[in-house]
């Protein structure tokens, strides 16, 4: 180290150390809603310190483009921070793509600056950086496109899909290994990056909308790991720490999501999820169901002591959450105990349903996780299901032939009365018939979620 610059070098390292500590605190404070906003502040201070510290580095001679890029990036970031809560999943996928793009570009530039003089270890992590970054970039773009519905949401599958992916992956890794041994082979590098970009597309193509929570979490994890790999390349402990934190966060969320979807974790790791099984939908005779009007539903809800609302993504699609809040207010005023049962995969990303309900001003202590509320259903007078289907399907508990057998569900069938708001009897996203609808205690409330809840609210409020 040049002694002339040693002083500022130490200062920068200390700044990075403080920033790393703030990042860890930031995540720690996220553990509860009471402290979570301190977490943001800690993260922001850490980020400002880290960027400021970096600008102090003596090697930096050109400021103009840094400032232009920072301003442009902020300009893009502000509208991305203002999207509606229903659009948060696609925004998140898009930001995974941006993060991965940054990592891939820096990795590419580093390679061409250093080649052919790249030590073996550095070349290995550099390859890992661009492979993970590349596939996360296109994969996240695909996921964002599907969530935004600019791309078809239906899973696209073809024969030999896994074989093609596997071969491509082998070629990418093989080229990377060759580069580790012969870092001067510049012409191979675009191949590694290019194949990674293709793999990202192919990995997400066969995945349907219902699997999005798992995919987003997994891409989150990949984005973190690629940033950590970049930290190894640049020998930046700050980046390694931030990348490891993000990687483990995405990993934990992927595990939680795959458990909630009843998929094994290896299944998820290799991207082999999303196979559509449409066997059970056929051969169902039209069985009798009982239906009810908003007036009848209002009478039953008004007479209940304990009500559990089970919201699904359909509620958000119908924009019914604000009407649901009105219903919550009216029933609470009447002395009815109203709670909300949240399945881990309700919505399009982990925790999405909580945000949608919080946006509608429903207090978060009324939002109860699946494991906690399942024991309470036998003492529940009314379970009101709005826009949820598969997560309430009792076949997951009993019918071994059902494609969702073994998936943890909300035990709504144990409630005294079950009311289901649904447009029609057509099966849900996974195309699986739901025996819940034919139970004796079940009432089907046919109609648009927003209008139907609005109808109940009108009856209860008397205006």
């Amino acid at each position: 180290m040049n002694p002339e610059f040693a002083g500022s070098q130490y200062l920068i390292e200390v700044i990075y150390l403080v920033a790393s500590a703030l990042f860890i605190l930031s995540l720690k404070w996220m553990s509860s809603p009471a402290t979570a906003r301190h977490g943001i502040l800690a993260g922001e201070i850490g980020m400002v310190l880290a960027i400021g510290g970096t600008l102090l580095r003596h090697g930096i001679v050109d400021w103009k483009w840094i400032i232009i890029a920072l301003v442009l990036g902020s300009g893009i970031g502000i509208p991305l921070g203002m999207v509606q809560m229903t659009a948060v999943p696609q925004r998140t996928a898009l930001s995974h793509a941006f993060g991965a793009l940054c990592v891939t570009l820096v990795g590419t530039a580093e390679f061409y600056l250093r080649s052919p003089d790249v030590p073996k270890f550095m070349m290995s992590v550099l390859s890992m950086e661009v492979i993970l970054g590349g596939l996360t970039f296109t994969g996240s773009l695909m996921a964002a496109g599907k969530l935004q519905e600019v791309l078809p949401q239906r899973p696209i599958t073809y024969k030999g899909q896994n074989l093609v992916n596997f071969l491509l992956f082998t070629v990418a890794v093989g080229s990377a290994v060759y580069l580790v041994l012969h870092p001067g082979a510049k012409e191979l590098f675009p191949l590694v990056v290019g194949i990674s970009l293709v793999i990202g597309v192919l990995l997400v193509i066969p995945i349907g909308g219902a699997d999005m929570p798992t995919v987003i979490s997994l891409l989150n994890s990949y984005a973190g790991l690629s940033a950590a790999a970049m930290g190894f390349v640049l020998n930046s402990k700050l980046l390694i720490i931030a990348g490891a934190l993000d990687g483990s966060s995405g990993f934990i969320l992927s595990v939680i999501m795959s458990k909630a979807m009843n998929r094994s974790f290896t299944n998820v790791l290799f991207g082999a999820f999303g196979q559509v099984q449409t066997s059970a939908a056929a051969g169902q005779e039209a069985k009798p169901v009982r239906s009810a009007t908003p007036e009848e539903a209002a009478a039953i809800l008004g007479a209940a002591n304990k009500v559990v609302v089970v919201p699904g993504y359909g509620m958000a699609v119908a924009q019914a959450q604000h009407k649901v809040r009105e219903l919550y207010d009216l029933l609470t005023k009447k002395g009815v105990d109203v709670r909300f049962a949240i399945h881990p995969v309700a919505g399009r990303m982990p925790g999405h349903m909580n945000v949608l309900l919080a946006e509608a001003d429903i207090p978060y202590d009324r939002l109860i996780e699946m494991d906690e509320i399942n024991g309470d259903f036998p003492q529940t007078d009314v379970a009101l299901i709005i826009g949820a289907n598969d997560v309430t399907n009792p076949a997951a508990r009993t019918d071994q032939s059902s494609p969702i057998f073994g998936m943890p569900i909300l035990d709504v069938d144990k409630a005294h009365t079950v009311m289901v708001i649904k447009r029609s009897m057509s099966p849900g996203f996974a195309g699986i018939d739901n025996p819940l609808y034919y139970l004796d205690q079940t009432l089907m409330l046919f109609g648009d979620a927003k209008q139907f809840v609005g109808g109940i609210v009108k009856e209860l409020g008397g205006h």
Binding site: D62, V88, G99, L105, P350, N354
Partner: protein, 103 residues
């Protein structure tokens, strides 16, 4: 160089363990803001891009670096912004009687 590598691996391992322990305790209630926050923090990769642009080693590197800074900065700004918006929405019903909360 060699000890640098070992140091880096130690840092990675410890940070991963801390990440697991800290994030395991995050309430599922906050998983969406958690993801947008980690996203913003992950955009610390911007420091690598800043060095790349600032050192001005080649036009190619500068162009890639500028795009990288733009991408990462949009994550920093957008990520913190939306996380804050989400967290401001979470309200409790009765501060006195916090039944049902795990926090």
């Amino acid at each position: 160089m060699h000890s640098d590598l070992i140091d880096a691996l130690f840092v990675f391992m410890l940070a991963a363990f801390i990440g697991f322990e800290v994030i395991r305790h995050v309430s599922p209630l906050l998983h969406t803001p958690l993801m947008s926050l980690t996203n913003a923090l992950d955009a610390i990769a911007v420091v690598g891009a800043i060095v790349l642009v600032g050192e001005k080693k080649s036009t190619f590197a500068t162009v890639l670096g500028v795009i990288a800074i733009i991408a990462a900065t949009s994550n920093v700004v957008g990520g913190f912004f939306i996380t804050d918006r989400m967290l401001r929405m979470f309200k409790t019903s009765r501060p006195a009687k916090a039944q049902g909360t795990k926090s």
